[in-house]
Subunit: 204 residues, 2 copies
């Protein structure tokens, strides 16, 4: 191993440790609530090392959000199931994601960002939206192509209504009331949402 390799690997390991510690603490304490000292301790690193890897706290938060988006969303690509099941499947994954405690903590952190940090929100929003909205829209278009839906369907509107119903049970109740459905309950709720959705947008 050359010196450069040694250093690069060590640095990458440390960076990973820092991101992991920061994600954990930002999720549980929020961006302002988690101090750089706590994060450094959790990552078994000095505070000065945090600043060698990230310009400041805001950049660290930004990196956490970026890695999270990259890690969570790719496997949301629509699975090759029969279309109606595919829509239920995506809905369920969406519901599960929004129910996850760590995700919820980070959503809390993102939602509460103010001032210059608010642009992470816009960024996260744009990405999360584009990826999830696409997964839902794709599934809906496939259903329409298969003749399973009202041919006059407004895809964006239909998608928003389905997402909204799922979000109520997961994101809204989670953020506002600290509620989290059991796995079984979540499945029932999501299936109910899909059923309601088909009553409006399915073939008449």
């Amino acid at each position: 191993m050359t010196l450069d390799e040694y250093r690069t690997r060590r640095a990458e390991r440390k960076r990973g440790d820092i991101i992991r510690a920061a994600r954990l603490l930002f999720a549980s304490e929020g961006v302002e609530g988690a101090s750089m000292a706590e994060i450094a301790k959790e990552a078994a690193v000095s505070t000065a090392t945090l600043y060698r890897h990230f310009e400041d706290k805001e950049q660290l938060f930004s990196a956490v959000v970026d890695e999270l988006v990259a890690a969570v969303l790719p496997d949301e690509a629509p699975p090759e199931a029969p279309p109606r099941e595919a829509l239920t499947e995506i809905s369920l994954r969406y519901g599960q994601l929004l129910s996850d405690p760590e995700i919820r903590g980070l959503v809390r952190a993102v939602v509460s960002a103010r001032g210059s940090a608010a642009r992470f929100r816009t960024r996260l929003g744009r990405r999360g939206k584009s990826i999830f909205a696409r997964a839902f829209s794709d599934a809906i278009r496939r259903l329409r192509r298969d003749g399973a839906l009202d041919p006059d369907i407004d895809v964006d509107r239909a998608r928003s209504e389905l997402q909204g119903m799922i979000e109520h049970y997961t994101l809204v109740r989670g953020l506002l009331f600290d509620e989290r459905p059991s796995k079984k309950k979540l499945r029932d709720q999501v299936e109910g949402c899909v059923e309601t959705w088909f009553a409006r947008w399915g073939k008449r």
Copy 2:
């Protein structure tokens, strides 16, 4: 005017000034972002006066939330319109409330509260939920009594689905993407939600 009256009135006036200033700044800056010094300045009062009226910052926030809940929710009582219009009307009010910038700022503040402050969330949640959920449920039950709905309707589920669709367009898009619909667009969206809802829960 007796001395006591004079003092009481002055104190009440100051208290109102403080609550108003705190509401404004908590909404725009968040609880941690708004400093007691800023709030005092906005209220034209010294910081020490804040502490004569409220035990600490957390209690001040609590008072702001309490007064907000008291001020906003009472006139949400279901109006005496024909039931279907009444449901649309409640939905629209709900959507408008969740779109209001100051409400949104305070929801942000409430959602991001951590640690001991998190109990405001539970408290606000319980109240807001009980009042709005009741308004929706009452309207739905009246529709059922009038024979306009599927007699087997699950009221809680139906209510959640309708609230969820409205929340997506207002609360979720607002909190995550900083979007806010125009008055006209909101009306269209809410009417769409109610239409979808009736496709599932209306008389078959």
